[in-house]
């Protein structure tokens, strides 16, 4: 490792430690619905088109947001609206405007199926500042993973609309799996020709529906191939390409992402889940929920709980116990831990250890 990288790594580690102690909220997920217009094979949540769980009423969420804006610095917080498929809600624009008035920024995660030009214009008018579109390959692979024959065409239409809006901090996210890994070069060319500027790739963790489907998970060789692919494309600098935050990747740190791994769950990232549960990233085991807004305010829970995410020393167990990378990895992503057994589900770095 070069001296520069070694210094960067140590400085970043100090920064992460200090940020953990400050734990200032900067990213608030809102799981606004569990309804979805797709039935993806890899979904992290168990949503259905006619979810029996009701959407969270806008006023319930906005009341919490207002309290947060009075006790925290809303101008540094992005509210990330997720689901389910958030576009199935018709009140996103009113909610977005209300959030902007309180000082927040807001954004949306969508599968693009219901993303029309008119909806795009009204979401932009309501102050939406960022959006992530899920796009899992070319037609066959995308439709297979999304379990729908029309999802590629609709995602492509959404992509074209989104690319035409420079104001939007927009990126595409792709779940890399054994079916699309050999097509990454073609997918890259497709995106490049469309004019996409930011592409993020992630792997599918064995959680949600994916845990029962081994067809979705990469083996060691495929994972290394993915790391090499991202590294190469990053060097080419034609597009802003990154591996997602999902895990520590040892020697590939800073080669596949701009910064070093830092799982910010409960440190910068919080969430209000569909049932009022308060946690961090929605893909984290629900056993780690820290409270509920129907009993306490989000701000109080954020300030008084979350020790399990801010002090990760408990992760020094199992394969992490004697791992030489622990100092930098700290047990990898919080979403990779099972609450019941307090066990790590997957270590990405071990796939690339030499």
């Amino acid at each position: 490792m070069s001296l520069k990288k070694e210094i960067q790594k140590r400085l970043f580690s100090q920064f992460a430690k200090n940020e953990t102690a400050i734990h200032e909220l900067r990213y608030l997920f809102w799981e606004c619905t569990l309804r979805c217009n797709l039935n993806c094979l890899h979904c992290g949540s168990d949503c259905t088109s006619s979810s029996s769980v009701a959407d969270m009423p806008a006023d319930v969420f906005l009341k919490q947001a207002e309290k947060i804006s009075k006790t925290m610095n809303a101008s540094v917080i992005t509210v990330v609206i997720t689901g389910g498929e958030p576009l199935l809600r018709k009140d996103l624009e009113q909610i977005g405007l209300a959030l902007r008035k309180m000082g927040f920024r807001w954004s949306l995660v969508t599968n693009g199926l219901a993303y029309t030009v008119d909806r795009h214009l009204s979401l932009m008018g309501a102050g939406m500042g960022a959006l992530t579109l899920s796009f899992d390959g070319l037609e066959d692979e995308h439709n297979w993973l999304r379990n729908s024959k029309q999802s590629f065409e609709k995602a492509q239409r959404a992509l074209e609309v989104l690319i035409s809006t420079p104001r939007l901090n927009f990126d595409v996210v792709t779940c890399v799996n054994p079916r699309n890994i050999d097509k990454l070069e073609e997918i890259y060319t497709f995106f490049l020709e469309k004019g996409l500027q930011a592409w993020r790739l992630f792997t599918i963790a064995p959680i949600g529906r994916a845990k029962d489907n081994s067809e979705l998970l990469l083996n060691r060789e495929q994972f290394t191939f993915l790391m090499e692919f991202i590294k190469k494309k990053k060097h080419e600098k034609e597009m802003y390409i990154n591996f997602s935050c999902e895990a520590y990747v040892a020697a590939y740190e800073t080669e596949v992402r701009d910064g070093f791994f830092f799982c910010r769950a409960g440190i910068h990232i919080g969430s209000i889940l569909i049932d009022g549960g308060v946690s961090a990233c929605p893909n984290i085991d629900r056993g780690f929920v820290q409270g509920n807004i129907y009993e306490n305010d989000f701000s109080d829970i954020w300030n008084s709980k979350f020790q399990v995410m801010r002090d990760r020393s408990w992760t020094r167990t199992g394969s992490c116990a004697n791992c030489k990378e622990y100092k930098w990895c700290k047990g990898s992503g919080m979403h990779l831990w099972k609450k019941e057994s307090m066990e790590l589900i997957q270590c990405h770095a071990s796939s690339v250890f030499t």
Partner: protein
């Protein structure tokens, strides 16, 4: 603010400067979770407006307000008011159209050019629409 947090915030500033020497200051705060979006730190302008009838002076609800060249659209509320976020460009042309036929009266489409060359973060406008007389 208690003293230990104050110390941490001072340390944050020092670390930020040190990180910037090693090209890491932006990534320190611009992050995204796997299932989340990029952060949004762009500046934009909040345009608020009111649309009234030229004939009665009354506010007109449900008028579509579109700034096509910058990809934004909204509708007036019951008070004839609208709120629109737009990028920090200098000139916007707002196209206003009556989309609900005879409900709330009938009006000709119109447009209004808004100049934000001073790059203000808030702008207020008033638009009068010409009613279609039978």
């Amino acid at each position: 603010m208690n003293f230990s947090i104050f110390k941490r915030l001072v340390k944050r500033e020092i670390l930020k400067r040190a990180l910037s020497l090693f090209s890491l200051s932006t990534v320190a705060f611009a992050f995204q979770a796997c299932y989340g979006t990029l952060n949004d730190f762009e500046y934009d302008v909040e345009i608020t407006g009111r649309i009234t009838s030229d004939e009665s002076g009354d506010p007109i609800p449900n008028i579509q307000v579109e700034a096509k060249e910058i990809n934004n659209m909204t509708w007036t509320d019951a008070n004839g008011e609208f709120y629109l976020y737009a990028p920090m460009d200098t000139i916007y042309t707002l196209l206003v159209s009556d989309i609900d036929s005879t409900a709330n009266g009938e009006f000709y489409s119109g447009k209004k050019v808004i100049d934000n060359s001073k790059k203000l973060m808030q702008l207020e406008t008033r638009i009068t629409m010409q009613s279609i007389k039978n």
